[in-house]
């Protein structure tokens, strides 16, 4: 960056920060992030569908399973009124969504027309609301009046788009779209370089996926817009080369000005990630099958729309970690010694509660019922039984547990100040220590995926492997790839099937969001996971999911059902939750 660019950007940042820190603004501003859980529940209750609330570029609208609402609102003079506007927007969109009032797929209209259409739709939505939600009319009238007051004060016409949003084209991904070749790097099972810089982008409402034109990329003609000091170029039909270098932070301000409407998929590994929260039509097609010479396991995948299995659709490669990190293990053990001792004590109390075996010829004490029987027999003139004692026996249960860790890139994020992958590793080490002490048949594995052709299942501890040999490997796993939960669960199930125990459990530690490069997400992913759980249940394998990321609340309940998942607010609770679950499993 040249000196004049540097100077200008410093000035720009200074003035922007002045604007952002406006006290008065903060007093009345409501941000979507703080309201999102509530609005999501609200939208799902109203529609009965798994609606996602996502940030809009401005006033927003709805399309597909997404409700776009403003990222922040400070239109009115206090937080309550701004929150009320959010609630009204979601309510309005829920009815609009149910009545299918939107632009047709592919239809493009100027924004003024889209807003007018949304405003006019109040004539249909209003009567519906007054019938089912009588107080929504009061809310609507109040908010409209506030917008009128703003218009009077600013001497401009009222902007009702905040109230009604705009119509959006209802885009649907064509499930029969052609198959694609996934980028070469994604299908390789080697560790990819990690992004160095990740920044969150501004809101994006629509993305068009383009196929890279290699010819035009080679013929690239350099163009520049000279009116800006910092530039980042919008796509204007001219192709240029990708280089993947990390200069993201230098250009953040310019990037925020970009219209991010177009997207290409590149096989170049990047070092900067400008992360937009958008999932509607970003995955274009499923991967082509690749011929694999290496030995792999093939599993079916469930297509919920067609209600059929895609036979041998996913390839799972089972492997061992390439390296081990015994120091990590030793450090975790010494740092958590007191936690481990507390948990040992907790479990010892449970284990000491022995099972009472009745009607014994010898035992700790008289069995009152047996003694009563003996009296009956004596009175009836029958030779009395000698089995009048009860004895306490150790309650040993036949259990096999497989701990399945999600080590996709999402575990590189932080929850309550802790890196998710670190929590997973620490918890597995400590819990593994306890399971080992109780001589439980257990295995620890991690998984990540890069398309259906490549789900990696890394066995950190095999069932029959001694714990002292395996525990060094747990520390070595690093975030990598995506989360194809269905294939991983099926493979974990196959591993458990080979065990003789009667009580078999998979404990999945994940954010629970099915996600892969090739359209394994949203409803498709959720239904595949649900299907895999049904398959496991048929084989008498139970699954319990644990998560510490707040976003898991949108996914886990849909897949695992009540009583079979737990979302923790604090990573420290994870270990306690695991031990409690173990106690419950033992008592079954």
């Amino acid at each position: 960056m040249s000196f004049d660019e540097f100077l200008y950007s410093k000035f720009l940042k200074y003035f922007s920060s002045l604007r952002k820190n406006d006290e008065e603004l903060l007093q009345k501003q409501v941000e979507l992030d703080e309201l999102r859980p509530k609005l999501t529940l609200f939208a799902r209750a109203l529609t009965g569908s798994s609606i996602e609330i996502v940030p809009a570029e401005r006033e927003g609208g709805c399309k597909g399973g997404y409700f776009f609402v403003p990222e922040k609102l400070s239109l009115f003079s206090n937080k309550e009124q701004n929150t009320a506007l959010y609630i009204f927007r979601v309510l309005f969109m829920a009815i609009q969504w149910q009545m299918k009032l939107n632009l047709a797929a592919g239809e493009e209209q100027p924004v003024a027309i889209s807003r007018k259409k949304a405003m006019d739709s109040w004539d249909s939505i209003g009567p519906y609301l007054s019938n089912d939600f009588p107080f929504a009319i009061e809310l609507h009238d109040g908010l409209k009046q506030l917008l009128d007051e703003i218009a009077v004060n600013s001497k401009s016409p009222p902007d009702y788009s905040w109230l009604y949003g705009k119509w959006m084209p209802d885009n649907h991904v064509d499930s029969n779209q052609n198959q694609m070749n996934a980028p070469a790097d994604l299908d390789s099972r080697h560790l990819l370089p990690k992004p160095i810089t990740t920044l969150k982008s501004k809101a994006v409402e629509e993305v068009s996926t383009l196929t890279v034109d290699k010819k035009m990329q080679e013929d690239y003609v350099m163009t520049h817009n000279f009116e800006k000091v910092e530039t980042a170029e919008e796509f204007n039909g001219v192709w240029r080369d990708f280089d993947g270098s990390d200069q993201l932070e230098d250009h953040q301000d310019a990037l925020d000005e970009l219209n991010m409407k177009f997207m290409v998929r590149s096989d170049e590994m990047v070092h900067s990630v400008y992360q937009a929260e958008f999932a509607e039509n970003t995955s274009v097609a499923e991967s082509k099958a690749i011929d694999e010479t290496e030995r792999c396991f093939e599993y079916d995948e469930w297509d919920y729309k067609k209600e059929i299995y895609k036979r041998s659709f996913c390839k799972v490669f089972s492997g061992r970690p390439g390296k081990s990190d015994p120091d990590y293990c030793a450090r975790v053990m010494s740092e958590n010694k007191s936690t481990l001792d507390t948990l040992r004590k907790m479990l010892a109390d449970v284990s000491n509660k022995r099972r009472q075996v009745r009607y014994q010829t010898q035992g700790n004490n008289f069995d009152v019922d047996a003694v009563t029987d003996m009296f009956v027999e004596i009175k009836s003139g029958v030779t009395p039984t000698e089995k009048i004692y009860y004895s306490d026996r150790k309650n040993e249960k036949d259990i096999a547990i497989l701990i399945l860790l999600d080590n996709s890139l999402s575990t590189d994020s932080y929850a309550a100040g802790n890196r998710v992958i670190d929590v997973e590793k620490q918890v597995s080490l400590l819990f593994g220590e306890i399971l080992n002490e109780y001589e439980i048949d257990f295995s620890i594995a991690s998984f990540f995926s890069r398309t259906r052709n490549n789900t990696s299942y890394i066995a950190l501890k095999e069932f029959d492997e001694p714990w002292f040999k395996a525990k060094g490997k747990v520390g070595a796993i690093e975030p990598n790839g995506y989360t194809r939960i269905g294939a991983s669960l099926r493979h974990a199930g196959a591993m458990l099937n080979s065990r003789s125990a009667k009580n078999k459990w998979i404990i999945l530690i994940s954010d629970g969001k099915p996600n892969d490069y090739d359209r394994y997400e949203g409803k498709y992913g959720i239904h595949d996971v649900k299907q895999s759980l049904k398959e496991l249940n048929v084989n008498n394998i139970n699954v319990f999911a644990l998560a510490i990321e707040a976003q898991a609340r949108y996914y886990l309940p849909q897949m695992f059902g009540a009583n079979h998942y737990q979302i923790l607010t604090n990573p420290k609770e994870m270990l306690t939750a695991l031990v409690k679950l173990f106690t419950k499993i033992r008592q079954l």
């Binding site: 859980p37 609630i87 089912d132 107080f135 009956v376 249940n537 139970n542 009540a562 009583n563 079979h564």
Partner: protein
């Protein structure tokens, strides 16, 4: 048997199925979520068939001894005391084992001989075989979960019963139930049922249990006795469902827009 006829509104052909099961002396399994009228249905059928009904709410400590009976010592004497199941078998009552999957496995073993053609109960402590009275009827209920694991009814046990499914009633029927049970005006009942159905949309989003007709009846009763509507709904419907402040907040906002 109840002196007064319990209110029950049929949502399907469950009354006919039960009557025929009773004629043919077949055990009945009522399956469905909490608060969908299973217990009320049994009370109603007991009244209709003019039979005594003994209800046992099963829990993880419920054992076969609790149902069959036990000896007690009185002075130097040992006296046999029939359990509720034995009483029902001898006297020809309906025995209703509520949430039977929660009970210990020996309970299931104890009822096996009563669920097939034998219709007999063996009291091992008395070495006595009790042949069931012709009017004896075994009824059990359970709440099927989405995933198996912690508490379940084995398929081999389920096969021994005639099963009647229960679910939340249609809105019109549920409105009628609310009006009959609480005396609230139609308009209030309609609003409460609409709230119930919206919240039921959330059953896959983390609520362990959803709004039952029973909860709606409770809210209606509170409203009828003079509690402000929104407070009644919050206390009887929203708060019992969740302890999560965000869920309570979202549901309260939803209800406040509707009532």
């Amino acid at each position: 048997m109840s002196i007064k006829e319990p209110f029950y509104l049929a949502s399907g052909k469950e009354i006919e199925v039960f009557e025929h099961a009773s004629i043919n002396k077949l055990p009945v399994l009522l399956k469905g979520p909490t608060g969908t009228g299973k217990t009320r249905f049994i009370e109603y059928m007991a009244y209709k068939l003019n039979r005594h009904c003994i209800t046992i709410s099963c829990h993880e400590e419920t054992s076969a001894t609790d149902l069959i009976g036990r000896f007690i010592i009185k002075g130097a004497e040992t006296i046999w005391l029939d359990g509720p199941l034995t009483t029902a078998v001898r006297n020809g009552a309906i025995i209703y084992l509520d949430e039977v999957a929660e009970a210990r496995p020996d309970v299931i073993v104890a009822i096996h001989s009563l669920t097939d053609f034998r219709r007999e109960l063996y009291l091992d402590k008395l070495a006595e075989k009790v042949i069931a009275h012709p009017d004896f009827l075994l009824v059990a209920s359970f709440n099927p979960g989405y995933q198996r694991g912690f508490k379940e009814l084995k398929p081999s046990t389920r096969q021994r019963f005639v099963a009647i499914p229960f679910n939340f009633p249609r809105p019109e029927a549920e409105i009628q139930i609310l009006v009959a049970e609480s005396g609230v005006p139609d308009e209030v009942a309609k609003r409460l049922v609409a709230i119930g159905n919206k919240i039921r949309n959330l059953n896959e989003v983390g609520l362990a249990e959803t709004v039952s007709t029973r909860l709606l009846v409770d809210a209606a009763k509170l409203i009828q006795s003079g509690l402000p509507r929104r407070l009644a709904v919050r206390s009887a419907v929203v708060e019992p469902l969740s302890d999560d402040p965000q869920v309570i907040d979202a549901l309260t906002d939803l209800c406040n827009l509707m009532i």
